[in-house]
Amino acid sequence: MPENKKVKVAFFDFASCEGCQLQVLNLENEFLNLLEHIEIVNFREAISEKSDDYLIAFVEGSITKPSDIPRIKKIRENAKILVALGACATHGCVNSMKNMFKINDVKKATYGDDDKLFDSEEAKPFETFEQAMPLDAVVKVDYYIRGCPINNKEFLMVVKALLKGKMPEITDSAVCLECQAKGNICLYDKGEICLGLISRGGCDAWCPSNGFVCEGCRGFIDKPNIERMKEIIIEKGLSLEYAEKRLQLFNSWELTKNKITLIDDKEKK
């Protein structure tokens, strides 16, 4: 492909750990090969070059502060295709755990007695929203590459598909499908609470295959049967309180938005 035919691609980040961009760099040789087809015009973590002319934008991170809004809107305007990269961008990830707390409480815990100063003029640049939000709470997102961190093979699959004008096929099955197909020993057999039952797969059951529970970093499957999940936890004699906390780690955005909870207020008391 001649140089000028290369598709221009940009990477951006908002509040995140930047692990997803690192996962892209971790593709190493494959990343190098990809550069035969794409021209990276923006990737702050790796290069100094900057440009506003790009076709595809990969955006990592959650929207957490007022200054993020014009920035993401500008990216949306510039990009023909906007891809949310990683759990922070697709559904809030651990950033949204703060959504579970009252904002005043968060401030208090972090600022102590200085929390009143938060409203002052000098603090403007550091002002944050009450909620950490995924990108699609603010702009239209064309494709979602889920996971914390992303599975970089899936990232490759999406890039390749987009370059060829094909719609990327993103998994909609539960983590259990891939986990069982690998013949893994289910973590419920070891008395753990695994969220793979209702969480979206596509990660090749990364965590359960390493002996760690699925924490639901790719969000829930469509219409998760939370009611039943709750009963399963009870039937197995596991802690509902614990399960609830686990559910919140990556999915607080969706849980608060849809008012989903395992323990309702009555039971809490």
């Binding site: 909609d172 069982q180 013949g183 020993i185 998760p224």
Partner: protein
């Protein structure tokens, strides 16, 4: 292979019927010899479960499996219809596809349960009839099946499913007996060639026959789960609107595990992907499940089974009816894997019982 050929092959298998008795030590020796000649896979312990793995000697085989405490996590379908299989290589510039030709060597599956052998024969119906699935067939043709009867585990209801006894679909069949003996039956020429150099096979004497009867009496006694499975397709037809499906729909969480571990679930997905040159690539098939949300979505956005109730009911209807139609018998072989592994506690035997009871009541 068309229908007739399959039948012919089955007939041939039935031609040989040699029965012997051997001691555990002879069996041990037998396995050691086999495993030097062929890759031999058998149920082995992994943590607290049982999985298929390559073995070199008898002691590696799971005691739990032989004693009928539990079965393997994945069924034998895994060997013929693997969860991820590269089917074709492709070239988008030339619009060209090539078959991914795999080299297959004969291998042994040791210790396959009667119900799992029934499962394989059902899979043969799907993959080898009408249109022959070459990928399945190539592996299937290379498999040497050594079946083994065991006590039923607590989830197994193969007696109800009529799959506790098997008379074809294996090359050799074993039954563990008391007094450290094994009954061995040779059913094919292949089986015959395997035992050719084995010393220590004896014809069954009276005592052996008694032990054999004892085994079956004990086995029948050990079934904890019984369900009337006669006429299932019709029963299901009559209870399509039953409120039991609403209940089960609420119970299921769509994790898809039941279909993954089932010896006769065969849904698959096909995907294509490019290599990094964006010219070549491959076509891959992966296990799929009808419990997945968008399994029955068509262009235009219509989903024929969008509710969980519809999907779990479909699993039962498809299982019980499609096979009765082509095989004359339900596709649930009663292995109990899905009962064991469904965290939502949905057990086919209980579902069938409930449907039957509800009908009797009304």
């Amino acid at each position: 292979m068309n229908k007739n050929k399959v039948k012919e092959k089955n007939k041939k298998i039935k031609n040989i019927n040699l029965e012997y008795i051997m001691s555990v030590n002879v069996l041990k020796n037998f396995i050691e010899v086999l495993s030097t000649k062929y890759k031999t896979y058998a149920p082995v312990n992994k943590e607290k479960r049982v999985v298929w793995a390559q073995i070199k000697n008898f002691n590696e085989i799971s005691r739990d499996y032989i004693d009928g405490i539990q079965t393997t996590i994945l069924p034998p379908k895994y060997f013929f219809f693997p969860p991820n299989e590269k089917l074709l290589f492709l070239n988008s510039n030339n619009v060209d596809y090539k078959k991914n030709e795999q080299i297959h060597e004969p291998f042994i599956l040791f210790g396959v349960h009667p119900c799992d052998i029934h499962g394989l024969l059902l899979m043969d119906k799907i993959f080898l009839e009408n249109y022959v699935d070459d990928f399945y067939k190539e592996k299937r043709d290379n498999a040497i099946i050594i079946g083994m009867d065991t006590m039923p585990n607590e989830w197994n209801f193969s007696k109800s499913a009529g799959t506790d006894i098997i008379d074809s679909g294996f090359d050799i069949f074993l039954i563990p007996l008391k007094e450290n003996k094994f009954y061995i039956k040779i059913a094919t020429k292949k089986g015959l060639s395997l035992i050719k150099n084995i010393n220590g096979l004896f014809p069954l004497n009276k005592n052996d026959k008694k032990l054999l009867t004892e085994f079956y009496t004990e086995k029948n006694k050990r079934y904890k789960r019984n369900v009337d499975m006669h006429d299932l397709p019709k029963l299901l037809d009559r209870t399509y609107e039953s409120k039991i499906w609403d209940e089960i729909g609420k119970q299921c969480v769509a994790c898809t595990r039941c279909s993954i571990v089932c010896p006769t679930c065969y849904c698959f997905n096909i995907k294509e992907d490019y290599y990094l040159n964006l010219i070549e690539g491959e076509r891959v098939r992966t296990w799929d499940s009808c419990l997945r949300q968008n399994f029955a979505l068509v262009a235009g956005g219509h989903n024929f089974r969008s509710s969980l109730k519809a999907r779990i009911r479909h699993r039962y209807y498809h299982k019980e009816r499609i096979f009765s139609y082509i095989y004359g018998k339900s596709a649930c072989v009663g292995c109990g894997r899905c009962s064991r592994d469904c965290k939502a506690n949905i057990k086919p035997d209980e579902v069938f019982n409930k449907l039957r009871q509800l009908e009797i009541k009304s």
